[in-house]
C-alpha cells in the first residue's frame, strides 16, 4: 500500500496546487500586443492577452516548463521557467518578423505593376483600364513618371532617352521587335496583349545587372503561369476579330489565339489625317503551352507569328508632289521558352530560356524596294542562391546571335553580331532598414569586337513604417545604332551613367513618390557629313562616324495616387521634368534633341460604378513643346512646337448574357478634338513648313470580349 501513497504523492501536487502565470506581451517598442497566445509548451495551459497585452492563467504544472508566446507576424518567443516557486509578472518582448512593412525594398528607378507584391504601385489591370492607353502596355507606361510622350514614334522615351534606349524584355528575354513595323510619323502599337502578363516592371534607370543593352530603361514583362478562363473566347471590335481558346488540366495548359484585323471600317468612321491606300490589314496567331513537371518547376513555351499589309501616301517634303507612296508588308515570328525551378526549400532558383525571333519588312517607297530583315536567337541562364537573412546572390549569362539586314532593290546588306554577357549580383540586407544591391555586368559584342564592364549599385533605407529613401547608380552600355555599323565597325559602345535618388511613402492606399536623377551620356556616335543638317528622320546615315558625342539629362518626377479618399474612385497624377542636351548624330553643337519635352503631366482617374458594373476612366495628358529643326533659324533646334493636350475617356461594362460573360468597351481619344502638332518639317528649299500630327484627331473605338464558358465559373469581380 505504501506505493499507492507514493503514487498519490506524485500526482497530488498537480491536482491541488495551481500556480498562476501572468505578465504582459509587447513589441520591441513596448506597444501592447492584444490577442497574443501565451502558453506552457506541451500542456493545455495558457491564455490570450487582452487589449492591454496582459495575460494571466493558471497551471497545475510544477516543474520547469517552456513558456511560449506567439503572435501573428512576430517571431515565436520561448523561455524556460521554473514553477517551483511562485512567479513574478513577466514582461515578454516579441520580435517582429520580416515583412513588407518593416523591411526595406530596393525601389529606385523601378515602377511595378504586380498582383503579388504589395509594394507595387500599379496592378496589371490598371494597364487595360487606363483611358488613352488603348490597352497597349507601352501606351500605359507613357503616363508613368519619367516617361516622355513622343506622338509620332513608337517606343518608350525615358528621362531624356530616345525610344531606342529602352529594351522590352519578356521573361528575361529581349524582344527584338516589340512594336508593329514602324511607319513614317505614325505611332505603332505593341505586339503583345497586356493580358498575357502577370507583372510589369518599368525601370526608369539604375536597373539591375541582369539586363543590358539599354542606355535608359528596361520594361520587364512577366508572363502568367496559368490560364484565366477555361474555354472559348471571342473578341470583336471595330478593327479586328479574334478567337481564343484555353484548356488546362492539372499540370498543363494551352492557350491558342487567332485573329484577323482590318482597319478599313474604323477609318471609314474616324477621319484620318493620313492618306491610306490600303488600310492596315493583319492576321496572326499565337500558342502558349505551360507544363509543371515538378513541384516548383514550370516550363512555358510561347510562339506567335503575324503578317501585315498596308499602303499609305505619307507626307514627304522632299518630293515634288509632297507625297510619297509607301507599301509595307511585314512577317514577324517570335518564340520564347523558359524554364524556372527551385530546389532546397527555395535556396536555389533557376531561370533559363531560349528565344528566337525573325522579322521581315518588304517596303517600297515610290516603287523603290527597301527591305528590312532581322533575326535574333538568344539563350539565358540565371541561378539565384538564397542566403541567410533573405540575402541573395545570383549569377547569370546570356548569348545572342543577331543578324540585321537592309536591302535596296534586291541587294541585301547584312550585319552579324554575337553578343554575350555575364553578370553577378547580390542583394544584401544589412539591417531590416538598410539594404543594398551590388552587381556587375560584362558584355562582349563581336560586331565591334569590344567588351565592357558595367557596375550597378542600389541602396535603400527605410525611414519609417511606410516610407523609404533609395539611391541607385550605375553604368549602362548599348551598341551603337546598327545602321552606323554598316560603314564603321570600329565604333565603341555608347554609355550612360545614372544617378537616382528616390523617396516614397505608401500608406493606406495612398502613394507618394518623388525621384530626382542625373544621367551622363558618353561615347555617343557623331556623324560628319560635311553638309547641312538633314532633318529627315528616315535618312540612312552615310557620313563618317566616331564616338565623340556626349550629353546629359537631369530632372525629377513625382507620382501621387489615391485610392482611398473617395469611394470607388482611383486617381493618380504624375509630373515629369527633364532638361537635356546632347552632342550626337549630325549635331554640330550640343542641343536639346527633338524627342525631349521638358514637362509631362498626366492625370488619370478611374471610377467603378457597382450598380451598372461599369468602369469609367478619364485621362488628361499634357506634353510641353518639343524642339524642331528650322533651317531658317540660325540657332540650331531653338524652335519649339506648341504643347500637346489630350483628354480621353474609356468605359467598360460587364454583362452576363445567357450565362456568358461579356465585356463591352468604348473609348474616345482626344475628346476635345485638339489639333495637336507633334513636330514640323520643312521642304528642302526651307520655304514651306509641314506639321506632323496624330493619325486622327478625335477618334473613337468600340469593342467587346465574350467569354463562352460551359459553366458560369466567373468570379465576383472581373475588374
Amino acid at each position: 500500500m505504501k506505493l499507492f501513497y507514493c503514487l498519490l504523492l506524485i500526482i497530488s501536487p498537480a491536482a491541488f496546487a495551481q500556480k498562476s502565470v501572468q505578465g504582459k506581451v509587447t513589441d520591441q517598442k513596448g506597444n501592447a500586443l492584444p490577442g497574443a497566445n501565451v502558453f506552457l509548451k506541451g500542456t493545455y495551459d495558457g491564455g490570450t492577452t487582452d487589449a492591454n497585452g496582459v495575460f494571466a492563467f493558471k497551471t497545475s504544472e510544477s516543474d520547469t516548463v517552456t513558456l511560449t508566446a506567439s503572435y501573428v507576424g512576430f517571431e515565436v518567443f520561448e523561455k524556460k521557467i521554473s514553477l517551483k516557486e511562485s512567479l513574478a509578472a513577466m514582461s515578454i518582448k516579441l520580435e517582429e518578423l520580416a515583412n513588407e512593412l518593416n523591411t526595406v525594398v530596393i525601389t529606385a528607378g523601378a515602377f511595378e505593376a504586380s498582383d503579388e507584391k504589395r509594394m507595387a504601385m500599379l496592378k496589371p489591370l490598371d494597364i487595360v483600364t487606363t483611358a488613352g492607353a488603348a490597352a497597349d502596355i507601352t501606351g500605359a507606361m507613357q503616363f508613368l513618371p519619367g516617361a516622355q510622350r513622343v506622338g509620332e514614334q513608337e517606343g518608350l522615351f525615358v528621362r531624356g532617352g530616345s525610344g531606342q534606349e529602352t529594351k522590352i524584355v519578356i521573361d528575361g528575354m529581349i524582344v527584338q521587335n516589340p512594336f508593329f513595323s514602324s511607319l513614317p510619323d505614325v505611332q505603332s502599337r505593341g505586339r503583345f496583349n497586356p493580358f498575357m502578363f502577370k507583372g510589369t516592371s518599368f525601370s526608369t534607370g539604375g536597373y539591375s545587372a541582369q539586363y543590358g543593352q539599354a542606355l535608359s530603361s528596361v520594361l520587364l514583362l512577366n508572363t502568367t503561369d496559368k490560364i484565366s478562363n477555361n474555354g472559348l473566347g471571342i473578341s470583336l471590335n471595330l478593327a479586328n476579330a479574334g478567337l481564343n481558346y484555353d484548356y488546362a488540366n492539372k499540370n498543363q495548359s494551352v492557350s491558342a489565339v487567332v485573329y484577323y484585323g482590318n482597319l478599313r471600317p474604323l477609318f471609314k468612321l474616324v477621319k484620318q489625317n493620313v492618306e491610306w491606300i490600303h488600310a492596315p490589314e493583319f492576321k496572326g496567331s499565337s500558342l502558349t503551352y505551360r507544363w509543371k513537371p515538378t513541384k516548383n518547376g514550370i516550363l512555358k513555351v510561347y510562339g506567335m507569328c503575324s503578317d501585315s499589309h498596308l499602303s499609305m501616301n505619307s507626307n514627304d517634303p522632299a518630293s515634288d508632289t509632297g507625297k510619297m507612296r509607301l507599301v509595307l508588308k511585314n512577317n514577324n515570328a517570335f518564340t520564347t521558352s523558359t524554364y524556372t525551378d527551385s530546389w532546397g526549400d527555395g535556396r536555389w532558383t533557376l531561370n533559363s530560356g531560349l528565344s528566337y525571333s525573325r522579322n521581315k519588312d518588304n517596303m517600297t517607297y515610290d516603287g523603290v524596294n527597301f527591305d528590312r530583315f532581322d533575326e535574333r536567337a538568344q539563350a539565358r541562364i540565371v541561378l539565384t542562391r538564397l542566403l541567410t537573412g533573405n540575402n541573395t546572390i545570383l549569377f547569370g549569362a546570356e548569348a545572342h546571335a543577331i543578324t540585321i539586314g537592309n536591302g535596296m532593290d534586291g541587294a541585301m546588306y547584312r550585319l552579324k553580331d554575337r553578343y554575350t554577357a555575364a553578370f553577378v549580383e547580390s542583394e544584401i540586407y544589412i539591417t531590416r532598414q538598410l539594404a543594398g544591391r551590388v552587381g556587375v555586368r560584362s558584355e562582349y559584342s563581336s560586331v565591334i569586337s569590344r567588351a565592357n564592364i558595367a557596375p550597378r549599385l542600389s541602396f535603400a533605407y527605410k525611414t519609417g513604417r511606410y516610407s523609404q529613401f533609395s539611391l541607385a547608380a550605375g553604368q549602362f552600355y548599348q551598341n551603337p545604332d546598327y545602321r552606323y555599323l554598316y560603314l564603321n565597325k570600329s565604333l565603341k559602345f555608347e554609355r550612360a551613367d545614372h544617378l537616382i535618388l528616390n523617396y516614397q511613402i505608401i500608406k493606406n492606399q495612398r502613394t507618394f513618390r518623388v525621384e530626382a536623377f542625373y544621367k551622363n551620356y558618353a561615347q555617343l556616335v557623331r556623324e560628319f557629313t560635311g553638309e547641312k543638317y538633314d532633318a529627315d528622320p528616315y535618312r540612312f546615315p552615310w557620313g563618317n562616324t566616331n564616338n565623340g558625342g556626349d550629353g546629359y539629362a537631369r530632372g525629377f518626377d513625382f507620382f501621387w495616387r489615391d485610392q482611398k479618399s473617395i469611394k470607388n474612385l482611383d486617381y493618380w497624377v504624375t509630373y515629369s521634368f527633364v532638361d537635356s542636351k546632347r552632342l550626337f548624330q549630325q549635331f554640330a553643337q550640343s542641343a536639346t534633341p527633338t524627342f525631349i519635352s521638358n514637362h509631362n503631366i498626366s492625370l488619370i482617374t478611374k471610377k467603378w460604378f457597382e450598380k451598372a458594373k461599369t468602369n469609367l476612366s478619364a485621362t488628361y495628358a499634357f506634353t510641353s513643346g518639343r524642339p524642331y529643326y528650322n533651317p531658317n533659324n540660325d540657332e540650331f533646334l531653338k524652335d519649339r512646337t506648341p504643347a500637346v493636350h489630350n483628354v480621353s475617356v474609356q468605359a467598360s461594362k460587364l454583362q452576363s448574357i445567357k450565362g456568358n460573360l461579356v465585356i463591352f468597351y468604348a473609348t474616345v481619344d482626344n475628346i476635345l478634338n485638339t489639333r495637336n502638332v507633334f513636330t514640323y518639317r520643312y521642304t528642302p528649299d526651307g520655304q514651306t513648313r509641314y506639321a506632323v500630327g496624330p493619325q486622327s484627331y478625335r477618334s473613337f473605338f468600340l469593342g467587346m470580349q465574350i467569354m463562352l464558358s460551359k459553366k458560369a465559373k466567373v468570379e465576383k469581380d472581373d475588374f
Partner: protein, 218 residues
C-alpha cells in the same frame, strides 16, 4: 498477492492516466469547437475568434500527433482573415491559416478531403479580401481544391456548401446569384442531412450557413 495488487493498481493508474489524457484532449477540443460554433457568424468577434484560435494552437502544441487541433486553428484563422480590419491584417491571418494547414497535412500523412475543403475556403476568403486583383488566381485555386476534395470524398457536404456560397455571393451578371446557387445549396443540405462526422470533434460546420442561405433564396 500484494505484489499483484500493486501491479494491477499501477496498470490501472497508467491506463487511467492515458485515458484521462485522451479525455482531456476530447474535452478541450469539444470546448473549443462549442465556443467556435457559438460565435455569431454574421458578425464574428475578432477577439473571441483570436482566443479560440489560440486555444486550438495550444492543444496542437501539446498533441503533436493530432491533425484536428491544427485544422481548427487554421479554420479559426480563415474566419479571422474574413473579419480582419485591413488587407495586411487579413493576409497575415490567411498566411497563418495556410501554414497551419500545411502542418495538418504533414500530420495527417495522407490526402484528406476536409483539409482540401479548408484550403478552398482559405482561397475564397483570400479572394474576398481583394477581389479585383485576386479573382483570377484564387478563383482557380478554389476550384482546384474543391475538385481534389470531391475526388477524395464526394459526400463531404462542405464542398457543396462552398460551391453554393461562392455562387450565392457572385452577382447575377457574372453567372452567379441566389437562383443559380439554390440547387447546389439544396444538394449541400441533402449531404449535410446524410452526413455523420467520424467523431464528435471532426469537422461538422457549414450546415447552419447553408440553411441560412437557402432561406434567402426563396
Amino acid at each position: 498477492m500484494k505484489r499483484l495488487l500493486t501491479f494491477t493498481l499501477l496498470f490501472a493508474l497508467a491506463t487511467g492516466m492515458a485515458w484521462a489524457q485522451n479525455e482531456k484532449y476530447t474535452k478541450a477540443m469539444t470546448d473549443g469547437i462549442n465556443a467556435l460554433m457559438a460565435i455569431d457568424r454574421s458578425k464574428p468577434d475578432a477577439k473571441s475568434l483570436q482566443d479560440i484560435g489560440n486555444r486550438f494552437e495550444r492543444i496542437a502544441a501539446a498533441e503533436p500527433k493530432e491533425w484536428l487541433p491544427k485544422y481548427y486553428a487554421a479554420y479559426t484563422n480563415v474566419l479571422l482573415g474574413f473579419v480582419g480590419a485591413t488587407l495586411t491584417e487579413k493576409d497575415q491571418y490567411l498566411d497563418k491559416a495556410n501554414a497551419l494547414l500545411k502542418d495538418a497535412e504533414t500530420i495527417a500523412g495522407k490526402p484528406n478531403d476536409e483539409l482540401e475543403v479548408l484550403k478552398a475556403y482559405q482561397s475564397q476568403i483570400h479572394l474576398a479580401a481583394d477581389p479585383m486583383n485576386r479573382w483570377q488566381n484564387d478563383g482557380e485555386k478554389f476550384q482546384g481544391f474543391l475538385q481534389a476534395a470531391k475526388s477524395l470524398n464526394a459526400e463531404n457536404p462542405r464542398i457543396y456548401f462552398l460551391e453554393g456560397s461562392s455562387l450565392f455571393y457572385t452577382p447575377d451578371e457574372y453567372g452567379g446569384g441566389k437562383k443559380v446557387a439554390k440547387p447546389i445549396l439544396e444538394k449541400a443540405q441533402q449531404k449535410f442531412n446524410a452526413y455523420k462526422p467520424e467523431t464528435a470533434i471532426h469537422p461538422d460546420w457549414g450546415k447552419m450557413e447553408t440553411e441560412w442561405m437557402l432561406s434567402q433564396t426563396n
